[in-house]
Every structure is written in C-alpha cells, then in structure tokens.
C-alpha cells in the first residue's frame, strides 16, 4: 500500500465552533435531524447514519481544582489495520489502496452490525435502519480522490484540522507534540502508528472522549 493520507485534529487549537460537524453534513448531504438538548452543548448526541462527525465536549476539574473544557472532533480513524474489516469477507468493507481510506460499501447491509461495530476499537460504525447499510466517515473519498481536502478540514477556521500525505502529517504531529509538551507534559498524538486520523491531546485521552484512544 502507498503511504496514503492522514488527518490531524489538534485539540489545542479547537474553539468548538462546530463548523466541521456542519460541513460534513453539507458535503455528504446528510439530513439535519431534530435534536434535543440533553444536558450538553454536544448535539446530535451520537454518531448515526446521518451524522458521521460529532464535536465531543468534555469537561471536569483538574487535580488543582481548575475546570477544563475539551473539544474533540470525533470521526472514523481510518485504521491502518481496520478492526471493522474482521467481519468483512466479500469486500463489504474496503481499504483504498491509494488513499488508505476505509470505506463501507452498500454490501455492508449483509454484515453483522453488532459484530462489526464491536470490531471497531473506536465504536464508529452505525447502521442505517432503513437500508441496513452501515455508514461512517469516508475521509471525503469523493473529494480527496479529486484533489480536494475533506470538507471538515477545509472549513476549520483555527486550523485545528489538517489533511495531507501521511508522512507529512506524522511529521507535523511530532513537531506539534514536542511544542505542546513544554506546557502540557501529557501532550500526545493518539495511536499515530495505527490510525490515519490522529488526535493531538494535551491531557489523558479519556478525559476527551471515552473512546478517544480506543476502547
């Protein structure tokens, strides 16, 4: 496989404007769903066939008592060795040679939903209840194969999202982690070796989102 692409999500730069979440829906023509506030700014509340990207808000108190509020733009990690593919026998799920994007085809309707979802360390796959097809982020496959950035990356006003050849992104991540470590000793690039969508965090990943670094 070629080197392919990667996305970097730098949580230290995110101001939670949610432009990425909205851009994902606009590009992929996913319907807006009626939502309720259930006690958080986070909305919709979970990934679904109509929502492939969610800005996770997470908050709490640091040991010294100061509050924190973290923003985590969740999406499929496009793993190097995708766990979801364990269930796939007949190209229901494919990994694109050139880009590295992990794609669910319409044939995923034949897959066992629960098992496929369980196979994903990040709990990403969701089923379209009407068609039975499994859905998730495509890394904007139709855009990146046409020389365009993913929609979420393009819209980000603070450059918290970055897209590029995997090697370049890994390099950027490494440099940024070194920079962040000066202020935040826990700064890390999550699962950088194993996934294509790499999150930069400045604290314990679990404080961002329960599956930030995997189940």
């Amino acid at each position: 496989m070629s080197e392919g692409y990667s996305i970097l999500m730098d949580t230290s730069k995110c101001t939670a404007c949610r432009g990425c979440q909205i851009a994902c829906k606009e590009w992929n023509q996913l319907p807006g769903v009626p939502t309720k506030n259930v006690g958080s700014y986070e909305n919709p509340q979970d990934l679904s066939a109509a929502t492939w990207k969610i800005l996770r808000f997470s908050e709490g108190k640091k040991p010294e008592g100061q509050p924190f509020w973290y923003f985590f733009s969740e999406q499929c990690r496009h793993c190097m060795n995708p766990g979801c593919m364990a269930e796939s026998e007949k190209d229901e799920i494919v990994q694109d040679e050139k880009t590295g994007a992990v794609l669910f085809t319409p044939k995923t309707k034949d897959l066992k939903y629960e098992a496929t979802r369980k196979g994903c360390p990040f709990d990403i796959p969701r089923k379209d209840e009407k068609t039975g097809v499994l859905m998730k982020c495509t890394m904007c496959f139709d855009r990146i194969t046409n020389n365009m950035e993913p929609a979420c990356v393009k819209t980000c006003p603070t450059d918290a999202l970055e897209f590029g050849p995997r090697e370049k992104i890994l390099d950027t991540a490494k440099k940024r982690v070194a920079e962040l470590k000066k202020t935040y000793p826990k700064a890390a690039a999550l699962n950088a070796d194993d996934v294509r969508v790499i999150y930069l965090v400045t604290d314990d990943p679990k404080t961002y989102w329960k599956f930030a670094a995997g189940k």
Partner: protein
C-alpha cells in the same frame, strides 16, 4: 473601542472580562491568539468557565455583579505595589488634581447625596481651580486631597480577602490576575481589556468600565498600541447607529439632545460648550457650535437660516430630566401612553429585560410597524402562547426588508471602522431595502402634510429629504455625502499651517476642522466628516499598506474620527513626542512633524510649552480622568450589590445597592432580593450558533441542529441539592417570569464561597423564543429585571436571582 481588532495582536496582556469573545466575537480570537503567539498573556475572568477561558493562560471566576470589587482590588494592588506608570500618571492624568473640600466619601455614600431624590448634588465633587480657573495640580502626588491620594484611600478597603468575600474568587486566583495584568504598568508594555455586555448590563455598568479605565490610566495603557479600553459591540452596526444617535439623549455626533432649558440655539451653545481656562488644553468640544449648525443645515437645507436659528426650534425638546430611554419607553407603553410604535430591525419581545412587560405593552398599542427579514416574536406577539388575538386591538404592519447583502451602504465596526458593503442581489419577493421603506414612508407623510396642513408641519416639510437616485430609489451615496458634509458657499479657509485653502460651493468638506458655525457648511455627523470627500468614498477603500507595521492599515476603509485608528494616541509618547515603546510606535515626533497614525490634533508634543496640548483632547481640561465628577453615581467606582442579590448586606459598606438607580414600582416591575424563593444568582449570555435573540439564526436548520433548545447551566453541587440530573427539563423562575430549560450540569460553574456563605450561580442563553424552532423554548429575558444603570439605563440582565426546580 479606543483601539481596534487587529491591534489586539500588539498587546502584552489581554484581559477578557465581561465578555466571552471566543463564542461571541469568534474572529477576534484570531488576533488574541496572535498576541499569545508573540508571548502575550490572556486572562479570562467570568462567572462561568467559557470557551474563552479554555484558551486563557489565567482564569478566575467571580460572582456576577461584583466586578467593581474585583477591579477595585486590582487598583489597590497596583498602588500598593508601585506598579503604576508614574510619568504617564503625573503628566497625562488627573491624578495630581486637587479635589475640593466638599468632596467626601463615607460608608458607601459620596458627599452630596439626597435620599429623597435618590440623587447626588455633583457640585460637591468639584476639583479645585486656581484664580485663572485652571485645576490645581500637585505633581508630587503627595497632597492628601489630590486624586491620587483619594484614589488610594478609596480602595484601601479593597483587600484581597475582602474582595474575595464579595466576589467569591479565591484569593490566589485574584492575586494571579492582579500580578499578571499589573505587569503592563512597566514603560513600553501594553495591556488591554475586552469587555461586552457582561460589564454594561448592571446597575453599576458605567462604573464597571470606569474602574477598568482607572486601571488603564494608572498603567499607562491608553493611547498605546495593544492597549486601550475596548468595548466589543455586539451588533454589526450598533456603533454606527449610536454615532447616528438613534437614541433619545443625543443627536448625531454625540451632541446632547435639546431640552426645555435650551430654547434657543444660542443658549444651547452657551450652556453646552465647555470652556477651559488652561491654554494648553485643546478642549475639543469648544467646537460644538460648528457641529450643531452644520447638523441643522444637513437636516433642513436651505430652510435653515440664521434668522430661524437654522431650524433649531423645529427639533423636539425634552423636559429637564426627562428620560426617554428603553425601560421608560416600555413602562410608558405598558401604561398605555404610547399609541404607535416602530420596531425597526429589532425584536424587543425577546431582547428586552422583563420581556413579559414588553409583550403586555405591545398589546396596548393602537398600531405597530415591524420591519424585519424574518417573522419574529415582536411582529407576531399577538399570537404568542398565552395571548388571545381576539382581545388584542393592536394593528400590525409587518414590512419585509432587504438583508445585508441586498443593499449598498456602510457599517461601522467596533473599532470605529466604517466599511462599505455592496449589493450582491435583489431582496426576495416584495422585500425592500430599509432605505427605500423609510424614504417612501416619509414622502407619504410629507404629502399628507402638504395637502392638509396639520400640526406644526415645519420640520416635516422643511426636512431635507432628497436622497433618491434618478430612478426614485434610495441612494446611499447621497446620504453618505450629506453625512460627510458640503461647503454651501465659496469660502477661503486656512489650513493648520496658515496656508489659504479655497473651497467651492458644493465641495465635500475634507475634515471637521473646516466646519463652520455660520451656516456655510452642512454636515450630518461631524465625526464622519472626512469619510466621503472630493477624493471619493473613503469607506470603500481596500488598500493594505501598513507603514507602522502595527496593523493600522490607514487606507483600509475609513475610521472615525479623521481616520485615526487609535484614540488618544498623543498619550503613547513622552513629553518630547517619543514613543514609550519605540518598537510599537503609534505616532512619533520626527523633524517637526508627527509620523504614524493620524495624531489627536496637529499640535507639537507637550515639551513645547506654548503650542503643546494635553493628550486627552475630548476632556475639557485635557487629562485622562480617574476622578469622574460628572457621573450620577459617584466620582469613584464603588461596589454595590445588584438590585437582586444573594447576600443580605454589602460587605463593603452600609449602602446595599447603587443609591441612585431608578426602581420601577408597577405591577409588572417585581424584584426580590435575598428572597428564599429565589436563592440562586443568574446571568444570561449567548452561544456561537445563535445571534442575539436568534431572530436570524433560529431559521437556519444547521445552526438549530447544533443548538436546538434553551438551557440552563449549573454546578454539580446545585444540581445535587435540587435533585436535578443533567439533561432534565427544569423550570427557572424569577420574580418576573419563568422559562423551561434543559439542565446542563457542569463543572464549569462552581459554587462561590463568600466568606462562610456558599452561593450558587446559573446561566442561560437569551437566544431562543417561541416562534422557532419548535420546542426551542422561550426567551430568558422573561426572567431578567427591568432596572437600569443610573447613567445609561442599560438593564441589569447580567445579575439577578432565580429559582431552579425540576419541571
């Protein structure tokens, strides 16, 4: 803003207090983050840990309504630790002024208080003047009656412990903020403040800002790059519409509105034009008569003549003390005293404090004209939940107008920058630009008065009203030129160097320095003179030269006054005109002239004993004022509790609340303090996804999906106490109303420890309303109190008391 958005990058320390800029002025953070990249510090002080706090180096919580205590403590810290910029303080501020004998302060009250009138006699606060009438000064700052010493004495009481007991801010957090910010008092360092409605919407709103202004003067932060006092205005053109005086108390250009005691123009000029006996004070307002005469010529054109005082008598006059501000307006409406009402591009049914009273008032009108781009709670108030249309007589005219991209004109941003915008498309359907609506409406009114005389038709028929193009459409350029002003006859004037300048009748006036009091010039708003000249429309400029490297961009659009990008910039240099910070020189005296920004007047630096002028040119005496003898509630900011508060007494003095506020006493004007039924402090704010009342954004599906419903944020401790789970619907109620909202139980609100007492606070956005989206919830302004600041009458929407229970 004394400074402007790009200038934030020049700051060494940015205090964001009374604002959540990251959510509400998102692009400002672009420049804040640049300051941080350059090593600047960001401080966030807010009752709630906000997205702004999440990006700050230092965060400190405080209980809503206690900003003066917090800032008073900082003033004390600066003075006690000698952090102030002495040269600046002595030379450019009123710190050396000697205050008269009658001034005193005791236990929360200043001298001159009249309990019956709930007002002060400000004569008690006068500063001492010598026999020429010039203020007496003690440059050593040792005189016990000098402003500096009085300031020190006033804030002696504001110890960190006392402040903490009031604000609930832990002492170490307080000190961290004080230490970080006070470091900008060093010569060459700049600190700035970004504030918004979190400071203005209080019964001590003006004094909140004054407290910070005192800090900025002490630290030498006004006039410099990366400094200033910066109000983040919330509406795209609220700066411009304020400049244009869509307010009862002023006429365009911040000229006072005429009143009964000023029956003639001569008396208006005589009484309102300030005088200074000090030849070194520029006292800019001495030019007021020129601006008034030119404004009257713009209003009434050829009909304005010296014989009829340029039409001054045609202007409405207020009674002495008559206050026609917002809260009084809706009080009058509620009491049936108003018959016709224009709500033009505004949604008071959701935006006003105590909105229930507003809605009840709307039902008492004969007719309502609502101009807007979307249906809204004001125009459709008669079908709101709980309203019975059959019983409401109010006629409503709902006029659809053009959106911002469907017409041409300028708007003025928070940094006083007037930028031109162009028409991209026609308005949909029958919607029309507001300019056309008002133009046609006034033409119809004029026709009626022409046909059938009616009462006092002179101002209506004499009003210059010729702003249409050849096709009869409203022409923004014609107005822009009128606002800039014309020479009305051929005239020869002198430039600052004494050279003759010849102007022809019909020329646009190049600067307000050329406006005349004799009717030979017209100008709709003197501060916009220079915005549209014979050289063209300055507001439409898009050149990006940046000679100072500070991001002033002098040829990008146009900034009032006279394209000056940083106000009071003469205070950014020493007596010889050399910048305090040579690396960030706003202006500089080089070879007998100023280079850099447009200086605050042409005069040479102060070292020129004869021609030099003090830098604070808009103050009659020319000095930055720590002592404010002109305000209604005292010359120094003093902590008072909000009208509705959680504590039984003011820990600072025996004076519980601001002694000069007006308290309405009608059946819908309830307020309850320390009432066990409403035990929690509440505040209101906005979210990124919605704007103001949500009138525009609640009709946009993607934004609604992300932020669908009204909510109330509260601490885990409060939620536990009330048995409320995160995400449950709760009822939030105040003495005035209630809303149902979703509980967000959060660590970002923490209970405040006020000494031994624990106080809880909650917060709600005010961007929802019944009309859309479905099940989005009601306006949180149903809860807020209609009590205002004694100077501005801006309501106290940011600190009031509520109860929260499971719905």
């Amino acid at each position: 803003m004394t400074n402007h958005w790009v200038d934030l990058k020049n700051s060494d320390c940015i205090l964001i207090m009374g604002s959540n800029a990251a959510s509400n002025h998102p692009i400002s953070m672009r420049w804040v983050m640049k300051a941080k990249e350059n090593g600047g510090k960001l401080i966030s002080v807010d009752p709630r840990f906000t997205p702004t706090s999440a990006k700050a180096d230092v965060y400190a919580p405080l209980r809503s309504g206690t900003d003066i205590a917090f800032l008073g403590g900082m003033i004390k810290y600066i003075l006690d630790n000698n952090k102030y910029f002495k040269e600046y303080v002595v030379e450019y501020t009123d710190a050396p002024f000697i205050v008269g004998e009658k001034y005193d302060f005791s236990d929360g009250l200043f001298a001159g208080y009249n309990k019956e009138k709930r007002a002060y006699d400000k004569a008690f606060w006068a500063v001492k003047k010598d026999d020429k009438g010039v203020p007496e000064r003690d440059p050593s700052l040792q005189n016990p009656r000098c402003v500096f010493q009085l300031l020190k004495k006033h804030y002696e009481r504001y110890t960190p412990e006392k402040v903490s007991e009031i604000t609930g801010t832990p002492v170490p957090d307080l000190l961290k903020v004080y230490e970080t910010y006070a470091a900008t008092g060093e010569k060459g360092k700049a600190g700035t403040i970004m504030y918004a409605m979190g400071w203005t919407q209080h019964t001590v709103g003006v004094q909140n800002i004054r407290a910070m202004s005192i800090i900025q003067l002490l630290l030498g932060n006004i006039g410099v790059a990366g400094g200033g006092v910066n109000a983040l205005r919330g509406e795209s053109n609220v700066q411009g519409s304020t400049d244009a005086a869509l307010l009862f108390h002023i006429i365009p250009g911040y000229l006072p509105a005429p009143n009964e005691s000023l029956p003639t123009l001569a008396e208006y000029n005589k009484k309102l034009t300030p005088k200074s006996a000090d030849p070194r004070s520029a006292n800019w307002w001495q030019n007021r008569p020129k601006y008034v005469a030119s404004l009257l010529k713009a209003y009434f054109g050829d009909a304005a003549t010296p014989d009829n005082e340029f039409g001054y008598t045609w202007l409405p006059k207020l009674d002495a003390g008559q206050n026609c501000s917002w809260l009084n307006l809706f009080d009058a409406m509620y009491n049936g005293k108003i018959k016709g009402f224009f709500a033009w591009g505004q949604n008071p049914a959701c935006s006003s404090a105590n909105a229930n009273k507003v809605r009840a008032g709307l039902a008492k009108l004969d007719w309502l004209v609502n101009v807007n781009i979307f249906e809204n709670e004001t125009g459709s108030f008669w079908k709101a939940p709980g309203m019975d249309p059959k019983k409401i007589k109010t006629e409503v005219f709902m006029l659809p107008c053009a959106a911002s991209v469907e017409k041409e004109g300028s708007i003025t941003n928070s940094g006083r920058l007037a930028q031109w915008r162009y028409k991209a498309a026609n308005a949909p359907g029958k919607a029309k630009p507001d300019g056309d609506i008002m133009y046609e409406l006034m033409n119809k009114i004029r026709e009626l008065y022409k046909k059938d005389k009616g009462k006092f038709p002179e101002p209506i028929l004499n009003l210059k009203w010729d702003y249409a193009d050849d096709k009869g459409h409203f022409d923004a350029h014609k107005v822009a030129k009128q606002v800039n002003g014309y020479f009305l006859k051929d005239i020869t004037l002198k430039d600052p160097t004494g050279k003759d300048l010849n102007f022809k009748k019909g020329d646009l006036v190049p600067s307000f320095a050329f406006l005349q009091a004799d009717g030979s010039t017209s100008c709709g708003n003197w501060i916009y003179c220079n915005s549209y000249t014979n050289a063209g429309n300055m507001m439409a400029r898009r050149k990006k030269d940046d000679p100072t490297g500070l991001g002033l961009y002098p040829q990008w659009a146009w900034c009032w006054p006279v394209n000056r990008r940083i106000l009071y910039n003469r205070a950014s240099v020493d007596l010889n005109g050399q910048p305090w910070n040579p690396q960030k020189a706003v202006i500089k005296w080089v070879d007998g002239k100023w280079v850099g920004d447009v200086p605050d007047g042409p005069w040479p630096p102060m070292a020129d004993k004869e021609k030099g002028r003090y830098p604070f040119i808009m103050k009659p005496e020319g000095f930055g004022a720590s002592f404010g003898p002109g305000l209604n509630d005292g010359p120094f900011p003093e902590h008072y509790e909000p009208l509705e508060c959680p504590v039984p007494k003011n820990a600072m003095s025996a004076q519980f609340i601001n002694p000069t506020i007006k308290i309405f006493a009608g059946d819908m004007d309830k307020h309850l303090t320390c009432d066990p039924r409403y035990p929690f402090v509440a505040t209101t704010y906005r979210v990124t996804e919605h704007w103001q009342t949500g009138l525009m954004t609640r009709w946009q599906p993607w934004l609604v999906e992300a932020q669908p419903q009204n909510f109330v944020e509260m601490s885990e401790e409060l939620a536990k106490m009330r048995g409320i789970k995160n995400g449950e619907k709760v009822k939030v109620s105040s003495a005035r109303g209630e809303v149902v909202a979703v509980a967000i139980v959060t660590t970002r609100f923490r209970p405040f420890k006020l000494g031994e007492v624990t106080v809880h606070q909650v917060g709600l956005p005010w961007c929802f309303g019944w009309i859309a989206p479905k099940d989005g919830g009601e306006s949180s302004n149903l809860l807020t109190p209609n009590v205002g600041d004694p100077n501005t009458m801006i309501p106290e929407s940011k600190a009031f008391m509520v109860n929260v229970i499971k719905a």
